[in-house]
Each structure stands twice: as C-alpha cells, then as structure tokens.
C-alpha cells in the first residue's frame, strides 16, 4: 500500500498553483515560460548516453565476477546460448507463450480494475462492500493462490492467467480508486456550477483527472504480472520463459536461466516504455516538478 501511495502521490501535481511570480501578466509575451534550461533534445542525448554507460558497466561487472570464479556464465556463453535457443525456435515459442499469458492476464486485470476502481471511488456503498475483499486478497501473495487455482481450475492455461490477472488487478484497482478519491473537489464543484450533472462530471472530470493514477496503476500492475509469471509457469507448463528456467535449473544450465531472465527483463522494460509513452501522451497536461 505504502509503495503504491508514494507512487501515486509522486505523480500528482501540487494542487494549488504556485502564485504567479511577477506582474508581467497580461502583456502576453510571458506565456511560453521559456525558462533558461538545457534544451530538451540535449538532455535526452545526455541521459541516453548515461544509460548506455550504465548498461556497459553492469555487463563489465558481471563479466569480471564470472571470470573471477563466481558461479556465473560469462556474457559470451549467454549470448551463444541465446543464439542456439533462437535458432531452434525454443526462445521464440517460450516468449510467445509467456507474453500471451502476461498480456491476457494483464489486459483482463486492467479491464476489470479500472471500472471497479471507479465504482469504489465514486460510490461509498460499493467501496464499503468491495474494499474488505481487495484488502484481504492484497495480503495474500498471488503465488499462494496457485495451489487453489490449480485445484479449482485444472492445469491448463486458466490458473496461470488467473493468478497473473489477480496480480495486475490488485495493483491497478487500488491506484484507480485512489485517483478517483483524490480528484480535486474544486474541479467537481466547478463542473457542477457550469451545469454538469453526475454522468458528465464522471466522464469529463473524474476520468481525465484520474488518468495519471490509472496509468501508474497499470505500470505497477504490469510489473506484478511479470513477477507472477514465472511462478505461474511452475505448474505443468510445457512452454514459457519461466518453465524453461525451471527446466534449466534441473540440469544446472546457468546460461539458459540467464537467457530467460534477460528476456523477461527486456520484455518487461519494453512494455513499460510503451505505457510510459502512453502516459506522456495522455497526461502531458500535468504540471510536473
């Protein structure tokens, strides 16, 4: 909860605006607020360069540790194993299987979480009815649900997708709910005095105002979905990155485990970037610090 809250709060803009600094107000020329900062493209290059340096450094440390006798495969070993796994199609199939599970679970989780979060935030009665269940399930790690899910749902895709769904749902629903609760009262009053009724206020004030929270919830939910994936694939899976790593463990096959880990990391990162982009597009109106 606290992690969620902090992320939510960090996204929010400070509600009352800063008092305008100067009197140069109505002359019109000051609207652009072009503060003397570094140009955005310059900053982007700089941060991209730093990112690259950081990645290179990480790999260097890994390599050093591996050469120093730690039980780690070296980067070339991992790369060549990745090549093998790509060539024989294993990696592709695993990625597709895992990605499918994550995407379905995550999409369902979000699709259910957003309306439920809205309803909880908007109607006090529903909040009181739903919240105990959500708080209850939040305390149970989705992984602990797996035995139950398997018994109830069998060993095919359903229990795997279900636990991923649950993880994504729980992360997203609380963030959405928080977003709705935190919508600035003044904005709702402003809409009311402009003649808006509940439905309009909901669609044109509450939804846009809580979009930043929803997107944060989705990002956290996506993280949870990936985190749950591997464990979900412990259960009678024939394919998937998690299954492959489990299998590799039996044969002490470290390079394959590394390929799996790195694949999951890259896929998660890519999906997070996509969400981040959507966030930039959808919530560019926010005043950021």
């Amino acid at each position: 909860m606290s992690v969620l809250d902090k992320q939510g709060a960090g996204r929010r803009n400070p509600v009352p605006e800063k008092t305008p600094g100067t009197s140069a107000d109505s002359d019109g020329a000051d609207g652009s607020r072009s503060a003397p900062r570094r140009s955005p493209s310059g900053r982007r290059w700089r941060s991209a360069a730093l990112n690259a340096v950081s990645v290179a450094l990480g790999i260097a440390i890994w390599w050093t540790l591996a050469s120093a006798g730690f039980k780690l495969p070296t980067p070339p070993e991992v790369v060549s194993r990745a090549g093998t796994l790509i060539d024989n199609g294993t990696l592709g199939k695993d990625v597709v299987a895992s990605l499918t599970r994550v995407l379905i679970g995550f999409a369902l989780g979000t699709a259910v979480a957003v309306p439920v979060g809205f309803l909880m935030g908007w109607y006090g009665v529903l909040r009181s009815l739903i919240e105990p269940w959500i708080q209850f399930f939040r305390t149970i790690p989705p992984l602990a649900i797996i035995p139950l899910a398997v018994v109830v749902m069998g060993i095919d895709e359903t229990p795997k997708i279900f636990v991923i769904f649950l993880a994504a749902f729980l992360a997203c629903v609380i963030s959405t709910f928080q977003g709705v609760v935190d919508v600035d009262r003044t904005l709702i009053n402003a809409a009311r005095v402009l003649g808006a009724r509940d439905a309009v206020i909901f669609a044109r004030v509450v939804v846009p105002a809580s979009t930043p929270f929803i997107l944060v919830g989705m990002r956290v939910g996506l993280g949870s979905a990936w985190a749950t994936l591997v464990a979900a694939e412990l259960v009678a899976a024939q394919q998937g990155l998690g299954y492959r790593m489990q299998n590799a463990e039996l044969y002490y096959d470290l390079p394959t485990i590394f390929v799996g880990l790195i694949s999951i990391g890259i896929l998660g990162l890519l999906m997070d970037r996509i969400l981040l982009l959507a966030e930039r597009k959808l919530t560019g109106w926010q005043e950021r610090r």
Binding site: P20, G21, S26, N189, R192
Partner: protein, 268 residues
C-alpha cells in the same frame, strides 16, 4: 424585508457545521438583498462565513435554516444562471483555454459552431485570444483567472459569484485584473457578489460593500460606494476613496458592537 424585486434575496440564512461535539455557526440569521446588475463586495475577517454565503448562493451548500432566492426562486443546487469563480481558478488542467471556456456550453448541448463563436467572444473579452489553444499549465495566475472569468461568462449567467478570485495573485496583477473585471462587467453587466479580504479591492469594485463579522457570521455594516466617474486610478487615489477605505477598514478591523449600523437588508 422581502423585496420581490431583488435579484438575490438571502432570507434569515443560518448555516451550522458540526465540529466534533460542538457546532460552529458559520452564518447566523443572515439577510440581505442584492439588486439586478449591482456589484456587491463582501469583506470580513476570516471565519466570518463569507465563503459559506457564496456557496449557499451557488447551491453548493444548503442552509441549515432560512433560504436564498434568486429571481424569487429558492436556490436548490447549482445552476447555469449563477456563474462561480473560485480562488484556485479551478480550470480543468487537461483542457485548453478554449475547451475550458466551452465546457459549460458543451454541457448545455450548444452546437459546435455556436459554442466556438461564444467562447471566442469571451476569450477576446478577457484578452486571451493568443492563448486560446494553450493548456492552463502554461498560463500565469492572472491569465488563469481571466480564463476562469471567461468560462463563467460563457454560460450566460445573470449572476456572478466570485470567491476571492484575486486572492492568490500579487498586488500589481491584482490591480490590473480588478480594472479588467470592471471593464468586462461594464460591457457585460451582471449581478456580482464578490468575496474578498482586501479592503481596497472591496471599495474599488463595489456599488456596495457588505462588511461581515465572525463568530457567528453576520452582516456587520453596509457601506454604499458612490462615484460618478469611471473606476480608474483617479478614483483609487481620490480623497473619496480614502474616506471610504477608512470607513470600511474600521468596520472590518474594529468590530466591537454587535452591528455598526442598523441592519440594512434592503437594496439601495
């Protein structure tokens, strides 16, 4: 007491809030009438219930007892004939200036072309034509408040309720916006109830200044402001202004008796 001709008539409004085990009386049996197209400012110490009065008139809060009438009809909930301007501007940050101004028109189902035309008119009126497609975050405080004023005007209210609208602005911007507001008001006459804690502002803008007292919130004094010329710097620096300012100042800062003058509740 009950003048049916009044645009706004507040009749014996009491508003209490529960504060733990005790109750807090924000407004105590308050009555006042405001005539059509009158510009009334309400000034008073904090906690005197001036914002509560405005919220009751806006329909955002219900009086505990008594009632508020607009055009002889009791207020029940917000309505488009009463525009409200908030201290925190309350612009929708995800909408541009134009979309903000059009918000109330869209809600009312005004067709697009007409919406555009009316929004344009009021955006020009407050001098934001260059910023019609800008997001609020790029505007200064004064520009945001002008946008909020245009947004309130666009719906076509006959009453404007303004809750310390310039309270968060610096002194220079504030003076400029006061003059612009009067300019806008002289072009588009409305009945205005303007809440402020600034004595100068109260005198400069008003036809009539209502001074409130706190604990419980009530009308303490009513001061007519008569000035035949335009409300400009000349007025602001005139001895008449200084005298009125003095009078209001004393009324606000030296409230000893229950009321300073016989409770006036009729229009001038």
């Amino acid at each position: 007491m009950t003048s049916s001709a009044a645009k706004i008539s507040v009749q014996g409004v009491t508003k209490t809030f529960a504060l733990g085990r005790t109750t807090f009386t924000a407004l105590d049996d308050l009555s006042l009438d405001i005539a059509d197209n009158e510009f009334v400012t309400v000034v008073g110490p904090s906690g005197c219930g001036k914002s509560t009065l405005l919220n009751v008139l806006a329909g955002l809060e219900e009086p505990t007892t008594g009632r508020a009438l607009v055009d002889g009809v009791p207020v029940s909930g917000p309505g488009p004939e009463r525009g409200v301007i908030f201290q925190q501007y309350a612009l929708f940050p995800w909408l541009t200036v134009r979309q903000n101004v059009e918000f109330g028109l869209r809600t009312a189902g005004v067709p697009k072309a007409e919406r555009r035309r009316r929004a344009e008119h009021f955006i020009n009126l407050v001098g934001l034509e260059q910023f019609a497609d800008a997001l609020p975050k790029t505007l200064s405080g004064g520009m945001r408040q002008r946008c909020a004023i245009a947004r309130a005007y666009a719906v076509g209210p006959s009453i404007l309720l303004m809750d310390e609208p310039f309270g968060a602005l610096d002194a220079l911007t504030r003076v400029k916006l006061q003059e612009q507001l009067l300019d806008t008001w002289s072009k588009e006459k409305r009945t205005v109830l303007f809440i402020t804690h600034d004595v100068d502002e109260a005198v400069f803008l008003a036809n009539r200044v209502i001074v409130m007292a706190a604990r419980p919130g009530r009308v303490y004094d009513v001061i007519d402001v008569r000035w035949d010329g335009p409300r400009d710097e000349e007025f602001r620096l005139s001895p008449e202004f200084a005298a009125l300012r003095n009078r209001v100042w004393h009324s606000v800062y030296h409230q000893d008796g229950r009321t300073a003058a016989p409770q006036p509740s009729t229009t001038i």
